[in-house]
Amino acid sequence: MNLKTFAGGLHPPDSKHYSANKPIERCPLPDELVIPPAQHIGAPAEICINVGDQVKKGQVIATAKGFVSVPVHASTSGMVVAIEPRLHPMGKPLPAVVIKPDGKDQWEDSLQQHDPDQLNADELKKLICAAGIVGMGGATFPAHVKLSPPEGKKIDTLILNGVECEPFLTADHRMMLEESERIIDGINILRKILGLETAIIGIEVNKPDAIEKLTRDCAPHGIQVQPLKVQYPQGAEKQLIDACTGRQVPTGGLPMDCGVVVQNVGTCAAISDTIRLGRPLVERVATVTGPGIREPKNLLIAIGTSLQHMLDQCGGLDGEPAKIIMGGPMMGQTQLSLQVPAIRGTSGLLIFREQDLPRKNFGPCIRCGRCVSVCPIHLQPTTIAAYARLDMIDEAENNNALDCIECGCCTYICPATLPLVQSIRHIKGSILAKRRKI
């Protein structure tokens, strides 16, 4: 079978067997929820409540600051016991609202249910922004920004990201199997906002059950399901657009530059909840998995639940943890502690033990060119990394270092185990710092 995909990339062992067959389970509320107002790309929200306040589930606790920003809501009802810096998944202590749940889990009274057919596109966008909807794949880019293309940009295709190309993660897979109605409803709302008909759900063929179910359910709605070859990083926007439509996003451009908007399937389900039930984004599905966990599971967690609490629901640790990753193993963030709260972008929690981690010292580049052949952006990772080591900022920039999506394919494939993506990331920071200075 000749399946669609993009050029480049690779296929690491996907290790999804740990949790692919586990239905989504609701995680009980922990003793305290730590909700940081910085949970999305863009300006952090501004805390608008005080210590001692009673809050209800879905109440705004921090307001959006600027266009690329969204408000943050309480994930359960209870009392605000502290507003103080707590360890954030970014690795440093950042301000956070600490809520002690009262156990009633009561929704805010002012939340209103809407019928999407009665509202126009602008009203829908406002609701989505007010509900704090961000990209649920992990990048947490505010959804309303993507849905507001500047004038003159014509959008003709909506692509739904059901790829879940990161190994281990199965949250989107389970969502597609169990929540296809909400996803399809969300897609219809998005189609109305963008005023277009073409919608394609891209799913990799390692999820045949999800492809089958969605193909059946989508048929009456005119939504196309596109099976894709299993290839990492197909879940990255630009690669998914290439795989589904054959279009290329220009250098430094956005998907809207080639007439496409991409949203995650989880985001669609959240959008459906927001409009139909009036519920803001206060919970998400996260995969708790890895060889260091006794019972891997897919958990429906309240935002602000600590990683430790999620772990406790999954039978605890199996051995001494050596690496804790929030997100997928390729692009996820290594965590300092299990006390860190899960935030809107937490698609998974991975625990590895020392014996699961291959660690080799790196050697010299042997010029095999494998990093060049796997790079999905068609850069020359080894060249840019060499410039990065020598701190040659302009040369790195001329080799298009800024186009790197930091997928990690080059480091994964390198037989000399060179820290290629790490070097490129580092020099990208220097390039941006230099640009700011000039």
């Binding site: 970014m90 690795g91 440093k92 290594t334 300092l336 660690r359 820290p419 790490q422 070097s423 990331r425 580092h426 920071g429 220097s430």
Partner: protein
């Protein structure tokens, strides 16, 4: 034969005249002082003066744009030489030397996480503010060592940067690359320094470093006026220090031993030895 000599000689004559005329007509006027200054400069092209290399600096001084004291690697000698070229009074110049204000190596300072990334302090600092619990101590990945044009910095086996006071010329390149601003410029003649850079309170510091300044004021009580304590961190009072005696007393009294007199030795693990100038 005769024709050949005549024609070649003729070509030579014409070319020589043309060159001679061109040299006179298009002569680039160079300030003789510029050349004289360039002669006395160390020629390291380190850039410490802020000019691209020694010739750039010489030009700057000759044009009156650059200060004659800006060449720190050259020290007082060069400044005097420049002053004599310019025909001005030599300016008093305090030679400077860089000091790493930290002794928290892998043995003494707590590690926040095991860092496996690039061997570069700036890269490590971006990952959760660096792999050490201390927010301002030396990260020990050797970015300053690789930057130093004078080979004056070494990393100890326990990952602490130490600067050789003999080789350091005060060019400040290491100060510019350090992501934690742990390297300070200090007057050359002062050998006693508080080697800590953390403004955290004592209790906090004790939690992550055995050899950090806890701001206890004991040094200043022992030798009044020799130290300045700001925000729980002491530093030597550079203006007053040479007037004071018994400064060693403060070194021995310091409860965490974070004050070091470089004339009696470099931090643990360093291969450097005190110089004749520094040695007491």
């Amino acid at each position: 034969m005769f024709a050949a000599i005549l024609s070649l000689g003729g070509i030579g004559l014409v070319a020589a005249t043309a060159l001679g005329v061109a040299a006179k007509k298009f002569a680039v006027e160079i300030d003789p002082r510029e050349l004289a200054i360039l002669e006395v400069l160390p020629g390291a092209n380190c850039g410490a003066c802020g000019y691209p290399g020694c010739s750039g600096y010489a030009k700057g001084v000759a044009e009156g744009k650059a200060l004659p004291t800006a060449c720190s690697p050259g020290g007082a000698e060069v400044i005097e030489a420049i002053a004599s070229v310019l025909g001005i009074e030599a300016v008093t110049f305090e030679p400077q030397v860089a000091v790493v204000a930290c002794q928290g190596d892998n043995q003494k300072a707590k590690v926040k996480y095991r860092y496996l990334g690039l061997t570069d302090c700036n890269a490590a600092q971006k990952l959760a503010d660096g792999p050490k619990t201390c927010p301002s101590g030396c990260l020990g990945l050797g970015t300053c060592e690789r930057t130093c044009p004078f080979d004056a910095i070494e990393m100890t086996s326990e990952n602490l940067a130490v600067i050789n006071r003999d080789k350091c010329t005060g060019c400040e390149k290491c100060v510019a690359v350090c992501p934690r601003q742990v390297i300070r410029m200090t007057p050359r003649k002062v050998t006693t320094h508080v080697l800590c850079n953390s403004h955290d309170k004592g209790a906090l510091i004790r939690g992550y470093c055995q050899i950090g300044c806890i701001g206890c004021h004991i040094c200043n009580k022992t030798v009044p006026g020799a130290f300045v304590i700001e925000n729980f961190l002491a530093h030597t009072n550079y203006e007053k220090l040479d007037e004071l005696e018994d400064i060693e007393l403060a070194v021995t009294k310091c409860p965490t031993k974070c004050i070091r007199d470089f004339s009696s030795g470099y931090p643990a693990g360093s291969s450097f030895v005190p110089t004749r100038n520094d040695a007491a």
